[in-house]
Subunit: 335 residues, 2 copies
Amino acid sequence: MVLQLIRLARVAAVVAFATTWAAAAIAQDLLPSWNDTAPKRAIVSFVERVTKAGSPDFVPPAERIAAFDNDGTLWAEQPLYFQFLFAIDRLRALAPQHPEWTDKEPFASLLKGDVKAALAGGEHALLEIVMATHAGMTTDEFEKIVKDWIATARHPITGRPYPEMTYQPMRELLAYLHANGFKTFIVSGGGVEFMRGFAEKVYDIPPEQVIGSTGKQKFELRDGKPVLVKLAAMDFIDDKDGKPISIQKFIGRRPIAAFGNSDGDLQMLQWTCETSGPRLCLYVHHTDADREWAYDRASSIGRLDKGLDEANVNGWTIVDMKRDWNQVFSFRLER
Amino acid sequence: MVLQLIRLARVAAVVAFATTWAAAAIAQDLLPSWNDTAPKRAIVSFVERVTKAGSPDFVPPAERIAAFDNDGTLWAEQPLYFQFLFAIDRLRALAPQHPEWTDKEPFASLLKGDVKAALAGGEHALLEIVMATHAGMTTDEFEKIVKDWIATARHPITGRPYPEMTYQPMRELLAYLHANGFKTFIVSGGGVEFMRGFAEKVYDIPPEQVIGSTGKQKFELRDGKPVLVKLAAMDFIDDKDGKPISIQKFIGRRPIAAFGNSDGDLQMLQWTCETSGPRLCLYVHHTDADREWAYDRASSIGRLDKGLDEANVNGWTIVDMKRDWNQVFSFRLER
């Protein structure tokens, strides 16, 4: 309770202070990993306009909704989506109980480390991998599996725990928005229960503000105790057109800011910004082959092609990671 | 901004005060429509235990999730679910554009005011009525239709605007929980976009905390402007087993308190309370034929049969409206 009071007081203090003429200076402090280039200026200008009482662009706190993609926007997504790396780790852990996987694709290839061969089976192979690792247990059991993994697993290239694979400038941006009364949501193609395993700790985003792809579930009483069992069937894919649909379903009002990095986020950015009122839409463009990875129009992971064209046409903000961020991760990637 | 500060300060003050030994007295003031009987004592005792720092039952604010059914729990549901009355009003408004309805069931009977004949077609007839009135427009258009209706329509028996058909004790309970750091969610079989048309104004529950049944939607660009079109197909029915499933999907953690009035809420109450930790589950039992309506085991609307047995077995709190509420609505129903 005391902690909550301190937190409330701190939020109130930050909010009050940030609305004075000193706002820009404060923002500088809250976004130290951002260079003083166009994207940072666009962010600070937007936040000042919507939070300044009496401003024609003022937005009441309840309507300060910001939507963030996760993979490639809040944390990295190379050499493979991290949830896929989680699935591979799970397959390895479960393999002793599944001798049949030795001869059965896509499992056989994946267990040998040959991702390309495993995914030759296309969408069906991917679905089989997801269902073998994300279904058949209760939601409580799955939560524990994810939390154990996130606490112990290491990224295959950097050797870092996955929470460290988040982008320092984006974590600062989340905190800056929180300090200015924004409610931030993750709206990602990733599995919702996977992301909830770390979003609160890593991003300060509670589970009810994490939206993602979902599988079907079944309610059961086991010895009188209710459980939800994760079934081997998809419910909803939260990507492309699915993002505005899930935003409407879960949030029920249009965000005033949206952040993405790929064509999968295009419809979310359109839904957010191609309407009246003060808006901020931002694409993270992966341009830094030294400190992160460089990829866009031709990449199979996080392809940014049509989105880049639309961003230019619509005047959305584009972050050139190499130019606009003075720090990418909290550590320095050695190459 | 100033308003927000005042609100934050007020919340902080209430929270601080409520944690002192004076908590019970405060609660008395915040729940004046509740008689000093077992349900009120159970509510106040629960809230004191989970909010008292150092208490073995203390629950951090982020985990103080409370789930409320809507129809029959927060507002009345007789003589018909209010959303169904909305649908009838919509059919009447749309009838001039649909001459074919004059000879077509279930529309013909409904337009003549014969609900029973209209519903003789069972679930299929109901679905046709819902789809004729809840689909085919954009989400923005539907929002306006609901808001206009809620502002002007009158209950067929009391002649009151629908926001006045909410239960005064339950509105006090929502405010009491909010003042104690709870995040309240509606988890209802009603349509999510229908409920969002009034939940914020009437219950102080923002759209992102309203969970309900959903229809399929389609994302479209119309002259470059993104819209979501409501399609004539159900997506999810948020009732019975659907309630714990939607709680998991939308909130991602178990509520510590749940409030319902019918067998449709049973699984939500089981999911909330049949587990370890401090919990409060409460059924509103409609026992007051003078001030409201009296119905339970035999009712087709809001049937409370198995739930009543389970409540007794599990020791959940049961509100006897006649005994436990000194006021039902903000007005006095004349009979």
